[in-house]
Subunit: 408 residues, 2 copies
Amino acid sequence: MSLIVQKYGGTSVGTPERIRNVARRILETQAEGHQVVAVVSAMAGVTNNLIKLADDVTGEGFPTEREMDVLLATGEQTTIALTAMALNSMGAKAVSLTGAQAGIQTDGVHTKARISNITPDGVHELLNEGNIVILAGFQGQTSDGRITTLGRGGSDLTAIAMAAAIDADLCQIFTDVDGVYTCDPRVVPSARKIEEISYDELLEMASSGSKVMQSRSVEFAKKFGVVFEVRSSLNNHPGTLVKEETMSMESIVIRGVSLERAQAKVTISGVKDVPGTASRIFGAVGQANLLVDMIVQNVSKTGITDISFTVHKDDVAKAEAALRPVMPDLGEGVTLEATDGIAKLSVVGIGMRSHSGVAAEMFKALSDSGINIEMISTSEIKVTVTVAEGDIDRAANVVHEAFGLGAA
Amino acid sequence: MSLIVQKYGGTSVGTPERIRNVARRILETQAEGHQVVAVVSAMAGVTNNLIKLADDVTGEGFPTEREMDVLLATGEQTTIALTAMALNSMGAKAVSLTGAQAGIQTDGVHTKARISNITPDGVHELLNEGNIVILAGFQGQTSDGRITTLGRGGSDLTAIAMAAAIDADLCQIFTDVDGVYTCDPRVVPSARKIEEISYDELLEMASSGSKVMQSRSVEFAKKFGVVFEVRSSLNNHPGTLVKEETMSMESIVIRGVSLERAQAKVTISGVKDVPGTASRIFGAVGQANLLVDMIVQNVSKTGITDISFTVHKDDVAKAEAALRPVMPDLGEGVTLEATDGIAKLSVVGIGMRSHSGVAAEMFKALSDSGINIEMISTSEIKVTVTVAEGDIDRAANVVHEAFGLGAA
């Protein structure tokens, strides 16, 4: 008998009928001889309704974050009760637990708390008594008893953290996709589902546009060695197993290709190559809370260089507004230019650590198809380029094919 | 500075705008120099929606009571968060607490738990820090951390129990009526609001049809000496103060008149007047979970007597079904008869302890108006009769007038 943690998102529990489907799937898992802890999110739409109510009662003001957490936590509490009673009505022994009841302790940063500790004695006890445990995702409590929520991707995090705390054999993240793909199948029709992927590869793919899971949950899984499977709640196909890298994984050079549209490039030209320049630029951008990616600066021979970075195109105006006040500090003749209409393409794979020529092969594939590369940036297991947004689908297909990622 | 507990029901917090009105009233109370703990119910309609969801997910089955409590408790949790954030948005310091967070401990009887203990240290601490405390009504938790709800009238009970635990100076129960009236003003236009009433009088009026508050809350207030005021959330009129009886209260013989429609009379005739007969009859009725009232048995001279009682008319069939199996045990010639179309009329007042002739005066007023009395039953501070349902409005008016209860 093994111990399995399952996680079902808001769409999977979006209606009473879907909750009954989830209950049946949990029952099947138990019937296969497993102990089950199922983490559930708020029913789709509920969180937005609660936010609307909060806006309505606060008028011109803003909801306090402490109270926002008390409010939002009711969403998951509703789902755990409904899921447990659905299971009970099917003859199963099931018991619901809120985050607080399950011993999930967090820091006090309301609306985006971090899990600081889990005391899973109660969960173990309920499991040993033969119960299925239905656990509220996304929530916990502080050491002094305040209700907290974990922010975006919080229910995935609850599942993975609880799997670590109770030493589960497997953690299954049920979503609306079959698993992690070599590329987005809507863009690259020959893309296929990846059977196994390392934490680092999934992290790099997530950070470059493959929105299967939030990075913080993958990082947590990596830190505590939690093996998890991303799979569909709509069918019974096996999904993608995410785990520590193995020797055999390295034989595949590139695991997948990810892409991100709607990017913009901001270039500051003619800056002096002296200490403090980059810090001044990115200090200003950081204070504006903008997510900056792909910072590129070339070596200068003349003491004058250009610095470029990408942001989402919706953030261009904010980036320009943040930078304008620091422009005078950067010296005379410095110019600021922003252009959108670009997209990012990345190839990711731990195998590239032991294989040379990955970047060259990627550039050749693009060049052979007449696709121009604007910026280049690399990490240990990822090569990223920017291309014109109109070229991105074609670029993804040629690179996907060049690395032989398509179905055999 | 005094400490006030206020309670606002589901209608008072039924919309975001109404929650803002409640917030303003709480602020006014604070501005008068008081510390405030406000107990709130679920927004009107929310509980019914949750029950509907529970029915939907359980299909043919029944929701488990443990999970029903987890589900229903979200209703009040939503309201406390919204009320606290409304207050915060108006510049006040307010903090919400669930029943569990407020230290309200109950027994483990889900959906109708009893409060076993309150540890109000956290509430005191928050008040001393200058906070308004917004407390979830209707809920608590067991000593082993399960969420419980208190059943009907639970929010009133929360308010009164918390007022006792923190030694509040006053507890205000806000409802949609101005207070307790000498009779239902829809029936008796000259009825007037009572300024002060004793616990016992309110209990007797509640048990005979005046549905201002559930008896359990009044009993709790009596036990712990909690003075409370029933008043309207729609205006600023003073309400009715409910407290231990005082000497001055006794000068008024009758405090009020209450009535209850849709009653039925069940009579078992010709039973032997021997020990065990009543127990057999009411044991059977009690097992069917029927609320029985006004049991009347006359002294017998022949060893044969009749036993009558009233039930709600909707329960007549159940009462007959429950009694039929025990009829053979009651002896030969025993008959069972049930008739509906009757109503109960009661006069209540602690003054009648020291004044004779109350019953006689009531009977004379009815007789003078040609209204026939069927059954009579009396307690120390109440006289109840049944009349034909068609006569009840007229009966209430003539009795109300006979005791001089109308506006001066």
